[in-house]
Amino acid sequence: MLTGIEGLMGWLGAATGLEFGFMQRAALGCVLLALGAAPVGVFLMLRRMSLMGDAMSHAILPGAAIGYWLAGLSLPAMTAGGIVGGLVVAAAAGVVARHTVIREDAALATFYLTSLALGVLILSVRGTQIDLLHVLFGSVLALEASVLGLLAAVAALTLVGLAVLWRPLVMECVDPAFLRGVSRWGAAAHHGFLALVVINLVAAFHALGTLMAVAMMVLPAAAARFWFRRLQPLLVAAVLMAAVLSLLGLWLSYRTDWPTSPTIVLLLGAWYGVSMLVGPYGWWRQQHVPQRHLKG
């Protein structure tokens, strides 16, 4: 009997690749990433800032590259560099938007393009092609314990941060003028939220690379929107979708020997498409299925 269970576990481990330590760490990393990135992504989407998340993910590159330049492939240096880089670009774009004729979107675009170029230049001059690929596409199959620790810390910080800022953040999204009238928490909520975006991008960039870090935020949130209306279910659904699909993507890439980050992102994208077709608030159901209505 015992051998039967052990045999089953052994077969499962071999089929999913979880018999290997690197696959176990990758799976844990995906779940931790989903816990932090997906809820932040829901707020990004609802605030119409999804593309801003994308821009920020490129903006963290030069910071991480400078960290790499100074300290090599060192986790603390690249993490700190990425966080500082992201916050500097967000703040600089905010200053330009407030004080010049350039609006926030254009300001962010100019900064992130410059940042991206600078980051790629530093990595190309100071590092190797392998390093560049590692930073651009991540290394989810080579997560060390220290990176897992970082992912866990970021997930915890994000959940605590969202819980603490919940009320002012929701009010800032729904009615910013009202919040300004009754308290000064609007700015704290906005900037605290941006900081959460940056740390999640830095965490995701270690696993998925800077090019696709933002996918764990944007795609599950957008897919969840086709299934749920209310905010709380949206958050839970986005986390579950991100976790399940990234695990599936991990398994698929193990079976097919495809690169992991693109496989995960493509699966998330495919699920977004499916949700659009079959979700109750998706395009197909809203357009083509006759709706039964209530009496009152």
Binding site: L46, V164, L165, R167, P168, V170, M171, C173, V174, D175, P176, A177, F178, L179, G181, V182, S183, W185, R229, R230, L231, L234
Partner: protein, 259 residues
């Protein structure tokens, strides 16, 4: 609720990009007043209200007797993102911010007050509906419920009845009168002169400058209304600097703005 004080405007001038929308207005609302502000489009009614609410800094003069945190203010164009997925009950509960702050959870009593406010504006049954499913009038009712929970001694309303049907209007006027009976100062910008005559004891007629202020019967005369229209039409785009120096405002720094 702390008792409201008399609200006084002293030589108030306010506007945008140096053009005054409100020009040298001095007046006084008694505490507990139910007051209307009327006038043609562009007469500075909203600007005046923003100054009283503390949302706009005057170019000259001042407002006394009210501080911004004592005010419940309903702007003319609300910035509410109605596509954000929160419910009517959650929107109305925002009016409890001054009691709950960032972290405290509403008590049973506070949740009952939210429910009572929703019922008072006739939105029972809509508590769990999201904002994008409400009509314009229902949404306005929800904003009124939020104002009720703010429990402020001074309530400022900027065209609160635009696009509202007769029944909603009657319900919301009832809310206004209950505020008045509770001793709050209520000041509302309105266009419907008949409604002002029927409901509001005090009226301010504005046409960038103060035309008349006092009991509604005395203010809303044909002569005053005609004068308001004339004043409003007579403004000059290429105006020069205004250099009024009044003896009672001599201590204040001289101001410079174009008309």
């Amino acid at each position: 609720m702390p008792d409201p004080a008399d609200i006084e405007l002293r030589d108030l001038t306010a506007g945008y990009e140096r053009h005054p929308a409100v020009h040298h207005v001095s007046l006084r609302w008694r505490r507990g007043d139910l007051a209307a502000v009327v006038g043609p489009n562009g007469a500075g009614k909203s600007t005046l209200l923003k100054c009283v609410a503390g949302r706009l800094r005057p170019m000259r003069g001042r407002v006394t007797g009210v501080s911004p945190h004592q005010v419940a203010y309903l702007p003319q164009i609300s910035e509410v993102d109605r596509s954000f997925p929160v419910t009517v009950a959650e929107l109305v509960s925002m009016g409890l911010w001054h009691e709950l702050g960032v972290w405290r959870r509403p008590t049973l009593v506070q949740r009952q007050r939210v429910q009572q406010a929703i019922e008072a504006v006739g939105l029972q049954g809509f508590e769990r509906r999201t904002l994008d499913t409400l009509s314009g009038g229902q949404f306005q009712r929800a904003l009124f419920a939020r104002l009720m929970l703010q429990d402020a001694p001074v309530v400022l309303l900027d065209e609160p009845f635009t696009g509202v049907d007769t029944r909603t209007l009657e319900d919301l006027v009832c809310v206004l009168q209950r505020w008045h009976e509770a001793g709050r100062t209520v000041i509302a910008v309105l266009h419907d002169v008949a409604l002002v005559r029927a409901v509001f004891p005090t009226t301010t007629l504005l046409a960038r400058e103060l035309v008349a202020h006092g009991p509604t019967q005395a203010v809303l005369t044909e002569a005053n209304l005609l004068r308001a229209r004339r004043l409003q039409e007579a403004f000059d785009e290429q105006a020069e600097l205004c250099d009024v120096s009044e003896p009672n405002a001599a201590e204040e720094s001289s101001h410079a703005h174009r008309h």
